[in-house]
């Protein structure tokens, strides 16, 4: 782990050279009288693994929900710039359009399609990259048949990559917990994202599973070139994985920086009351 100011400087210089692929400015979200997010700024750059941490109820998941179009934010601007494509504003887009634009997410409390098979779950992820319609489905023209074959192949390849190929035909609801979390990642990956949003991917996992997850996330970044923004409570995982960390508390950003900086930041330690910062 590189710490200290030189590392930060390098990172900053590197970033100055290019535009962030996700940039969020003064994002604010009110629920009735409660301010869940308070003018939050955040940026993610190409090929980064960024972590969003903070105590429970700090507004991390709300942040995800705003970016992915589930909640309309009260104020603020959200921009994406997929590599090689022109920037798009996310404000006001429906969730499915956000996904089509290359942001994919997983959920904190697993939301698979329980009564569909593992393969089908991944195939659903491919949905927005396919085009066959009703008539094609009914009369199975050649294009549809080919497309279907391709989907099955691609989805299966994806399962292999994530290490779930043994379960292809099992119902999603019958998978062990850790495998369900991984299936969520596989399903999100199937949508061809450039940025993957993981909401507590290690929650409920044992040590062994967490270690595998760590490797998997790094592999996704290195081999697929997908940047990652994750919410996580497992500090060990966060510290070993992340390039940069954002800390939120009560909807406000209280710190940002490299793992080493965050570990020594008094505001962060205060927010956590000193707990769990012994990575």
């Amino acid at each position: 782990m590189c710490g200290g100011s030189t590392g930060l400087k390098n990172a900053k210089q590197q970033h100055n050279a290019m535009e962030p692929i996700l940039e969020v400015k003064t994002l604010t979200m009110d629920f009735g009288g409660l301010r869940a997010l308070d003018s939050l700024d955040l940026a993610v750059y190409q090929n980064e693994i960024v972590a969003l941490i903070g105590p429970n109820g700090a507004g991390k998941t709300t942040f995800f929900n705003c970016i992915t179009g589930l909640f309309p934010p009260t104020k603020g601007e959200m921009l994406i710039a997929p590599p090689g494509k022109k920037p798009t504003k996310l404000n006001g887009l429906k969730p499915n359009i956000v996904t089509a634009n290359g942001l994919a997410r997983t959920f904190q409390n697993i939301r698979l399609f329980p009564n569909m098979t593992v393969l089908e779950n991944v195939m659903i992820g491919r949905h927005c990259r396919l085009s066959s319609g009703i008539l094609g489905a009914a009369f199975r023209n050649r294009a549809t048949v080919l497309e279907e074959e391709k989907v099955v192949e691609e989805s299966y390849a994806m399962l292999k990559k994530i290490g779930l190929d043994a379960f292809v035909n099992d119902f999603a609801k019958n998978l062990p917990y850790g495998a369900q979390r991984r299936l969520e990642i596989a399903r999100a990956m199937a949508t061809d994202p450039f940025l993957l949003l993981l909401d507590e991917p290690a929650a409920g996992m044992n040590l062994q599973e967490t270690r595998e997850l760590d490797e998997l996330i790094v592999r996704i970044r290195d081999e697929e070139g997908i940047s990652i923004l994750l919410i996580e409570h497992d500090m060990k995982l966060v510290m070993s994985l992340s390039d940069r960390i954002f800390v939120v508390d009560y909807g406000k950003k209280i710190a940002q920086g490299t793992p080493a900086e965050i570990q020594n930041n008094p505001a962060v330690i205060k927010a956590y009351l000193g707990e769990e910062i012994d990575a």
Binding site: T68, G69, L70, K94, P95, N96, T99, A100, A104, R105, F107, R111, L112, F113, P114, N115, M116, T117, L119, E120, M123, I124, G125, H127, C128, R129, L130, S132, G133, I134, G136, A137, A138, F139, R140, T144, E147, E148, V151, V152, E153, Y156, D165, V168, N169, F171, R187, A188, T191
Partner: protein, 388 residues
């Protein structure tokens, strides 16, 4: 708690209007309920034991229906037997029976349509009969005013069903679960009430009579042969429906429907357009109801709004749920049972609806998943992939 049960049933049953006391009824009902409650408790206990076994991880044998469906050894001869039976039916049985069978087949077709909406996409539609009425009135009115024939109107009826599906579906599909159910119920009633009251348009409660049966290249047919003709026409239409619905189920759209039923939010997060997907399911279901309606009008040669009450919607929904939601074979069996059962229960005449209601309850209590539950398609091509 079961002790209170017989007592209650008896008393209400005993008195008729003012003077008639029927002690005999009291006696019969009392004994009957007493015995039944034992049977009931025994069955419930058995069900619970079965459940515990399943939970304990003991191997529960897959139900026989499922095994039959999985083994080609079984289902191919079964399919042939069904085909032979279907072809021979109108020649072996009487015209009356054939007529009933045509009705049952119409229900098979529209139930398969509703299965798309309820079984696959998970949208509870209690006003499905509206689209059935749209189809029937399309044929009746187009024939009355313009003399259009059955074959011309069949696609028009389907298109009208689709159109109404889109029109009615568009404003309401934002609603969730039971709100959707009640709004569709509302639309169903609205259409029926309009048909009933708008005399200039629909001829009101008296309906439209003398709707011609379907023709075959202008050949004149006797009543008998035209019913046989209609029967085979329905067999054809049923096969067509099964063919299309089966393919839809396994397609990109079909998968999206099921995913939508399973988890709406996750579905959107996976890039599926919720509104569009719901609308296609709703409208496609309506299309089949439209077609069924055209055939219905042609079969009965007379329609009026009384054929399209909410009970009709409910019966069709029962077919789908009893048969097993999302399962094509289940729905077909469900339709045949639910439509033929009341017909053959005519022997019990006045008790038939009573029995029908009881059967629904008992079915649901002991087989909540429907006749054919758990049948899910398995993608078999993976084996090939692993070797590749």
């Amino acid at each position: 708690m079961f002790l209170t049960f017989p007592i209650m049933v008896i008393k209400v049953n005993t008195i008729e209007n003012i003077v008639v006391w029927r002690w005999k009824n009291l006696f019969i009902v009392g004994i009957g309920v007493f015995l039944l409650s034992f049977v009931w408790r025994y069955l419930i206990k058995r069900k619970e034991v079965g459940k515990k076994k399943a939970e304990a991880g003991e191997l529960v044998k897959p139900p026989i229906t499922q095994r039959v469906l999985k083994e080609p050894k079984f289902y191919i001869p079964a399919l042939i037997a069904v085909a032979v039976f279907a072809i021979a039916f109108p020649f072996v049985f009487s015209m009356y029976q054939t007529n009933i069978m045509v009705t049952a087949l119409i229900y098979v077709v529209i139930s398969l349509g509703l299965n798309i909406v309820v079984g696959l996409a998970g949208l509870l539609d209690l006003g499905y009969v509206a689209f059935y009425a749209v189809g029937a009135y399309t044929y009746a009115l187009l024939n009355y005013h313009f003399g259009l024939g059955f074959w011309t109107v069949l696609p028009i009826g389907a298109a009208m069903g689709f159109l109404f599906g889109v029109l009615l579906g568009f404003p309401v599909l934002r609603l969730r679960g039971d709100y959707l159910a009640i709004v569709t119920l509302g639309f169903g009633e609205i259409i029926r009430l309009i048909l009933e009251n708008w005399n200039e348009f629909s001829f009101g409660p008296s309906g439209i009579a003398n709707i011609p049966r379907p023709g075959l290249f202008g050949i004149q047919m006797s009543l008998h042969s035209s019913i046989i003709y209609l029967y085979f026409l329905m067999i054809g239409l049923t096969l067509f429906t099964i063919f299309v619905v089966n393919r839809l189920q396994d397609s990109r759209i079909g998968r999206a429907w099921i995913a939508l039923r399973e988890d709406e939010i996750a579905c959107q997060a996976m890039g599926i357009d919720k509104t569009k997907t719901k609308l296609t399911a709703f409208a496609l279901g309506a299309t089949w109801a439209g077609m069924g309606g055209v055939v219905f009008a042609a079969k009965t040669t007379f329609i009026n709004p009384a054929s399209f009450t909410i009970w009709e919607s409910i019966i069709i929904l029962c077919v789908v749920v009893i048969g097993g939601m999302g399962s094509i074979i289940g729905v077909i069996i469900g339709a045949l049972i639910l439509i033929l059962l009341p017909e053959y229960l005519r022997a019990f005449s006045e008790y038939r609806m009573l029995i029908f209601g009881a059967v629904l309850v008992v079915m649901m209590v002991f087989r909540p998943g429907g006749i054919i539950s758990d049948v899910r398609r398995i993608y078999r091509f993976e084996e090939r992939e692993t070797t590749a």
